[in-house]
């Protein structure tokens, strides 16, 4: 589930964020933990020395509201003892404190062993020795002066205000995870991961009626560096709604068109409820994929490990075993991928030292696989983990998190204009909006940013008060056409929430513009 935006860590100066801790020092700390845990009776141990950096530049209209640099640095130690998991974490990085945390992890494991039904069974994993992985970014956002970021956001705000917006809030988030993983399997893995998300929220108010409308940025959070903000001509797609972005983002241009579009939203026609053919842009569809395919194919949900919080899944093991469960139409091919360049989920190795890869989840509409980690792999008859383990901090215990789950583009040539041309009565939806789905992922409701009525193959103007409700399986079986590779784009979330205590993870979802037939659309206007 996607929660409100949280803030983590402690504040630091911008220059502190450029310091990098020597892997040799991290290896020494890790060995202290590995040895201490083993001496107390652990049969398996993994250690994560993590330094998590966040930078937020927050502005509104002509003002800088906040510039925050946070750092969270510490060590998390996970052990198996007496067949049970135990975990402890500390931000005191001296040898005694690390050894004490390792001992606490073992104590917890032993205490909990009486609550087990069967011992933890880990899929085999070879040690990789001392290896490293770095995100292939072009420009580290933390090296860009804060002033340059402030100037960009204030220019964005100015463009929106000049375009008729009453208010704009704009934010630039940058994240750097410096993660070191060591385990008793013999891996010492150093990774440097970067993410960036520029976004804004425009509001326009009609003082005479007291009504207001909003338009959020059409950017995507990505696993890229600051180059994401340097859009080239090939990164732009011109459509009936305006410019859409592929690969890189022009924030200034989007704020300008956003101010115009929020004005159009004020005057838009309120939707007539009923069945419509929906043409969904990737800037919108990523969230539907995330909720209705990403989450129900997480094996921990299928098995019941999330029953008390995020929920379980309608994609039960019997449906997978049958090899003929029609999740969607034959057009629907969905992959899990932890390697896609520029995606939020891309890493070299997951947080239990497994090298990452790509696999099919839905093939020609049929459920063929899930997303699993080491202690679940045996349930699927796999002899290796799929590399989906992640912890959002050194102080959080790692568990199964979503890989990038993406809808593959259609094989036949098909453009956005072709999709619209083929629809008699429909709605073209751009951008993500309101979202909600049940705990087994059957029933969902989504809104968007921009809704365009399609009449007899042509855009007939903007609509408002739109949300669609559907059943996941019916919805994906109503998928009839997907644009080709040239329209494939990534959307995603910085803050996918799961687990207790709650953790967030960042994940991307790719798709091309896709058509779904006869989906139920409701009108959301009310009076209070």
């Amino acid at each position: 589930m996607l929660p409100a935006i949280p803030v983590f860590g402690k504040e630091i100066s911008p220059e502190q964020a450029l310091e990098y801790i020597d892997p040799a020092a991290k290896k020494i700390m890790s060995d202290v933990a590995l040895n201490a845990a083993r001496s107390k009776g652990a049969t398996y141990t993994d250690v994560r020395v993590g330094r998590y950096l966040n930078q937020y530049v927050v502005t509104r209209e002509d003002k800088v509201e906040n510039i925050v640099n946070t750092e969270s640095y510490g060590i998390g130690i996970r052990v198996i003892s007496n067949g049970s998991w135990g975990f402890a974490a500390t931000d005191k990085m001296d040898k005694d404190s690390i050894a004490k945390a390792a001992e606490l992890a073992v104590t917890i494991a032993k205490e909990n062993a009486r609550l087990l039904r069967e011992p933890v069974k880990l899929a085999p994993q070879k040690g990789y020795g001392e290896v490293s992985w770095k995100a292939p970014i072009e420009k580290n956002a933390f090296e860009v002066p804060v002033k340059e970021k402030v100037d960009l956001l204030l220019a964005v705000n100015d463009a929106a205000m000049k375009g008729g917006a009453d208010y704009i809030n704009s934010i630039l988030f940058a994240v750097n995870e410096q993660k070191y993983f060591a385990s008793t399997d013999g891996s010492y893995i150093d990774q440097d991961i970067h993410r960036i998300w520029p976004t804004f929220f425009i509001t326009k108010i009609d003082k005479a009626t007291g009504k207001f409308e909003t338009r959020n940025a059409l950017s995507a959070p990505t696993g890229k560096g600051y180059e994401y903000l340097n859009a080239r001509p090939q990164d732009k797609i011109q459509t009936a709604s305006g410019t859409l972005y592929k690969g890189r983002y022009d924030m200034l241009e989007d704020a300008t068109q956003g101010a115009r579009q929020v004005g159009e939203k004020m005057k838009a026609k309120s939707v007539e409820p009923g069945k419509y053919d929906l043409v969904l842009d990737p800037s919108h569809l990523w969230l539907t994929i995330h909720e209705s395919c990403g989450h129900p194919t997480e094996l921990d949900r299928v098995l019941g490990y999330e029953a008390n919080y995020a929920g379980t899944s309608f994609l039960t093991l019997d449906k997978w075993e049958s090899k003929k469960f029609n999740y969607g139409s034959k057009e629907v091919n969905i992959t899990a991928d932890k390697t896609e360049v520029g995606s939020l989920g891309a890493v070299g190795y997951d947080d239990e030292g497994v090298k990452c890869g790509k696999w099919d989840v839905i093939k020609d509409g049929i459920l063929v696989n899930y997303q699993a980690i080491r202690d679940q792999a045996h349930i699927l008859g796999l002899n290796a983990s799929q590399g989906c383990c992640y912890a959002d901090n050194w102080s959080s215990v790692q568990f199964q998190r979503m890989a990038n789950i993406s809808l593959q583009p259609g094989k036949a040539k098909l453009s956005i204009a072709d999709q619209i041309k083929n629809v008699e009565k429909g709605i073209y939806i751009v951008g993500d909006g309101s979202f909600s789905i049940d705990q087994q992922r059957y029933n969902f409701q989504f809104g968007g940013q921009l809704y365009y009525e399609i009449k007899e193959g042509k855009i007939a103007g903007m609509l408002k008060d739109v949300a669609y409700q559907a059943n996941t399986q019916e919805f994906w079986n109503s998928c009839v056409a997907i644009c080709d590779q040239s329209d494939y784009r990534l959307g995603g979330s910085f803050f996918d929430g799961k687990g207790q205590p709650g953790q967030v993870s960042a994940v991307s979802h790719g798709s091309a513009t896709t058509r779904f037939n006869k989906v139920n659309v409701i009108n959301t206007a009310r009076k209070i």
Binding site: I67, F87, I108, E111, G210, N308, Q469, P501, I528
Partner: protein, 445 residues
């Protein structure tokens, strides 16, 4: 690090301030020790113990503010962090909305937020509680998944204007889902306490067990407008979206459900049924919260909605000064005044209706009307002639808490409850509401 006493915190913060050369300096200290245990499929899954502390130094020159943080408390580190905050302040852009730090404040009596019983909890205590919960579910041949956490924390702040504040707190959270093996029944219970000795994991598991067993064979009934009884945890997830939206600036700027035409707001107007009274009170013995906010403002008893009329909105100090209102901070907890009837009595007084025990995945659809969507979960029942007749399939709803509180039928006895969405604790009654809008059915159990 052990929790610092008031005198120790005062000495530490005084030392930090002694290094300051800024025009103004403010220091915030937070320390916490926590532990948790999670279980599912009738066995423990993950579990942990976490210790983390931080000291935040904010230095200001004019309207320029710099902030830096550290978790090492030796003299050299403390002086270094003060220098760093000052360097950052000199480099920062001027913030026209910067407000000078507050001088000394009166916080009234300490609130009973700290419980020694919780401070003494060990990994064994947590495992014992979970064992009792598991036994209850396993004895009923059902499947349990739950979470238990406890924490102890201290917070303190001091500034160069003479303000000093200190608090210690303990928290306990327990929630449990019990499901039938065939996946046709599911029940839930959630509790929040300051005092671990109040926790009865076995009894709470029994509640979830009963709901799981009685929710199998759910029938599908048509979506539409129904009289509903919302249990307190379902009330929490609806009303907290109202609490989160009572910001004065948003209302004044015309972008809130509180806004009216011409830049006016609904402050002082009848917004909901006159039986609705919502307030916050840091000293409430059932829901004690800190007597000061993070920026040093006192948390006082505040009436937010009195007899259905909006009495106060919370606000930043900057906005309050600009608009000439009292700068009331966002409260630590919210309370809705209860009635005298139990949940059972509310059910008895219902001719036809639906009992909603939990609502889930609540999101705003339209901030203008506070229209929310979400679903029922873990036990939804049809009531006829004052009795629960049968379980019903889950619904999606689209409803505004404002419309809901205008369609108020009856208020039950308030109790401490927890939002399964935000995990915040509240003191709320069960409510009977007319014409609650369900828009579709869900197959989820």
């Amino acid at each position: 690090m052990p929790i610092l006493t008031k005198a120790e915190a005062k000495a530490l913060l005084t030392k930090v301030l002694s290094y300051s050369k800024a025009e103004q300096c403010e220091v915030n200290l937070n320390c916490s020790d926590s532990g948790n245990i999670r279980y599912a499929r009738n066995a423990v899954s993950t579990s942990g113990g976490i210790s983390a502390n931080s000291l935040v130094v904010s230095s200001a020159f004019g309207k320029k503010l710099g902030t830096a943080t550290i978790n090492e408390f030796d003299d050299a580190s403390l002086e270094k962090i003060v220098r760093r905050a000052e360097e950052l302040a000199q480099l920062a852009p001027e913030n026209p909305e910067f407000m000078p730090f507050l001088g000394p404040q009166e916080y009234g009596a300490d609130s009973p937020t700290f419980s020694p019983a919780t401070a003494a909890v060990t990994p064994k205590d947590r495992a014992d509680a979970v064992q009792a919960s598991l036994k209850e579910a396993i004895d009923s041949k059902l499947n349990a998944a739950g979470f238990l956490s406890n924490s102890i924390g201290c917070s303190a702040m001091m500034n160069s204007k003479g303000l000093f504040a200190y608090n210690t707190s303990t928290d306990v959270a327990f929630n449990i889902t019990v499901r039938t093996d065939d996946g046709k029944g599911s029940g839930y219970a959630t509790r929040g306490y300051n005092d671990f000795s109040k926790l009865n994991a076995k009894a709470d598991t029994a509640i979830a067990t009963k709901k799981a067993m009685s929710s199998i064979t759910a029938k599908a009934i048509e979506p539409g407008k129904y009289t509903v009884i919302l249990e307190p945890t379902a009330v929490a997830v609806m009303l907290e979206n109202l609490f989160f939206s009572m910001d004065a600036r948003q209302a004044d700027e015309g972008r809130s459900f509180m806004s009216k035409t011409g830049g006016k707001t609904k402050l002082g107007e009848q917004l909901v049924d006159e039986r609705v009274n919502i307030y916050s009170d840091p000293w409430n013995p059932e829901l004690p919260t800190a007597t000061w906010s993070g920026d040093g403002r006192p948390q006082e008893k505040v009436n937010w909605i009195e007899k259905g009329v909006v009495k106060n909105l919370y606000s930043s100090r900057y906005w309050a000064q600009k608009t000439g209102i009292k700068a009331i901070p966002f409260p630590g907890g919210a309370i809705m005044k209860g009635g005298t009837k139990t949940l059972e009595e509310l059910i008895k007084g219902t001719e036809k209706g639906i009992l909603v025990t939990r609502l889930w995945y609540i999101r705003t659809v339209d901030p203008q009307t506070l229209l929310l969507t979400g679903l029922t979960r873990d036990g939804t029942f049809y009531i006829e002639n004052g009795e629960i007749k049968f379980p019903v399939k889950n619904f999606r709803f689209n409803e505004s808490p404002i419309i809901m509180l205008n369609n108020l039928d009856e208020i039950g006895i308030a109790e401490r409850t927890v939002s399964a969405e935000s995990e915040a604790n509240y003191l709320l009654p069960p409510l009977r509401i007319r014409d609650f809008t369900f828009t579709s059915l869900s197959d989820a159990v």
